[in-house]
Symmetry: C2
Subunit: 337 residues, 2 copies
């Protein structure tokens, strides 16, 4: 079954290939007869232009690449959705690649997307400048979202990783907590680093303990949250409150608490990162550090279109805020202020 080309359409319509192409791509100088003949012929044959050939000639593909670390993380699923919907408004189709928190898979996606000549790239990158060198050098319009890479001038839209954590720590100390455990994200990501630093800074300005062993380093996946909870709860002097740096690690940690019969809220205060729908359903509902995922996605797409247009938009930081729910009541026997 040889594939159907524009030549078949042209033949059927009795015009030249050039005319057929003009009609099909909406070029103004075409006659009414040519238009109807070609349109009908194309319709009848079920012609679908070969995008490869088209974008080989034009240098644009009308697609953007999106590389995110983990589809199964609800935060990134929401982000992907937001980006995709906004990109549609600009007639871009979003090709979504899931890096699975692996630098190697991420780089493969970058490579293939560059080969596919996407018109632009949105990514929440992992790894360092060196490994991304080839993307940046390729000159493809790029915007970072959620995460950034140090020492690049790639425009980015990121959450405010400081304020939310500060508020959370202050809230917990206000509730009487002095030992606040922290399940950190990987230090190879900007969000992991910034949130940890914010936690440490916030602690420093309170009277709460800042023992290094209150910090557990996870990898943003559920299993490491579980490991973190186990480790922290088994300390000689365990924390009375827990803060986890993303939603999946929160899920893992809460699973461990349930297993051990430790009541969230009652026996252990808990603050999760990212306002996942399911967190509001827990009983008690979870106090979370939330940010506006939709805004982040929309912003990233808008910035990318600017970069594609040759502008250099300024990076944006979107606010986070603490949403206080039932998982962080005052510490029962705690040293009330």
């Amino acid at each position: 079954m040889r594939s159907l080309t524009i030549k078949d359409v042209a033949d059927k319509a009795g015009v030249s290939v050039a005319t057929a192409s003009r009609v099909l791509s909406g070029h103004p100088s075409t006659s009414a007869e040519a238009r109807t003949a070609v349109t009908e012929a194309a319709q009848e044959l079920g012609f679908r232009p070969n995008a490869q050939a088209r974008s080989l000639r034009k240098t644009t593909t009308e697609t953007i690449g999106l590389v995110l670390p983990d589809v199964r993380n609800p935060f990134f699923a929401d982000l992907a959705h937001a980006i995709e919907q906004r990109a549609r408004d600009f007639k871009y189709l979003t090709l979504f690649g899931n890096a699975n928190e692996s630098a190697e898979q991420q780089d493969r996606y970058f490579d293939v997307m560059l080969s596919q000549r996407v018109d632009g790239l949105i990514a929440a990158p992992l790894g360092d400048l060196e490994s991304l060198r080839s993307i940046l050098d390729s000159g493809i319009p790029t915007v970072f979202v959620d995460r950034v890479i140090a020492d690049t001038d790639v425009p980015s839209v990121t959450p405010d990783n400081v304020t939310g954590v500060q508020e959370a720590v202050r809230h917990l100390t206000d509730q009487g907590h002095r030992r606040i455990g922290y399940i950190a994200g990987p230090q190879s990501t900007s969000t992991g680093r910034e949130r940890l630093a914010a936690y440490q800074d916030a602690l420093a300005s309170t009277e709460a303990d800042d023992d290094a062993d209150l910090i557990f380093f996870g990898d943003f996946q559920a299993a490491s949250g579980a490991a973190g909870a186990r480790h922290l709860l088994e300390l000689a002097e365990p924390p009375t409150a827990l803060l986890a740096a993303d939603s999946l690690m929160s899920i893992g940690a809460i699973g461990v608490c349930n297993e051990r019969g430790i009541g969230i809220g009652a026996d252990l205060a808990f603050v999760a990162y990212d306002d996942i729908e399911a967190f509001a359903l827990l009983n008690p509902a979870l106090t979370v550090i939330a940010h506006d995922v939709d805004a982040m996605g929309r912003q990233a797409v808008e910035m990318l279109t600017q970069v594609i247009a040759g502008e250099t938009p300024a990076s944006v930081i979107l606010p986070s805020r603490l949403i206080i729910r039932g998982s962080t009541p005052p510490l029962p026997g705690g040293t009330a202020l």
Copy 2:
């Protein structure tokens, strides 16, 4: 900045374009000198072959398209992940499109992916045979996953939508329930139809009520689950147990219960579809109808490679099973058997 072509590499390496191409695509008859010269030149220039040109000449793109109804539904996020990982094993890159439960967006993705000449397509389709006619007619290797379209011979891998529901209904009646509300999925999807039919059949073989108004028709999204819960709980004779046909509607429904202070388990038994990680964290944990998402994804990819190879694999139905947890205790004042 004119883009870098294989000709630049050939010039730098001092060989012809043909030789450069052979080296870069691993053709056997190349000399060691040519190999090193070309490889070095390509490396040094940072050459990245243009995939458009390449797949215009070869007729394969080494990509598969994946069109799913909703990334934000954890079931589909997991499915996408499973498909993507298995596709990697076959050297396929997965281009993922999110149809957003909209036939129009779905069709646009199909269209673009066909234009991009993906080597194959995996989809959880919505809509009817007519609207998908053009995809099926195009002859592109296709596999349906999770959902199917009636009257096609497209191979599919679907969950057993009957057994799980049957077990759930039986379990609930065993626990003493006589009024079991059902929040159904859209009847435009095969899963929506089959699960509803299974619920109705299962009810018929018990002594439980089978009032039509125990059924609410949702659309697989959270808001409709909430609407369904509101509607069912306000019936003159409200159900004592609720069964929802997917995870997002379950989340919506549980949200309403929390709002109204209706205790899941205590005041209302609840069975959700799909075993989402977060469901196990609720207190009490949710009884769910589970299926093996990973297996479904892997199976779909394997079937697709068979279709691409020209074979016609038989459709597969994967088992579902009921996982009983705390949300379905015996009905307190219920007519125990």
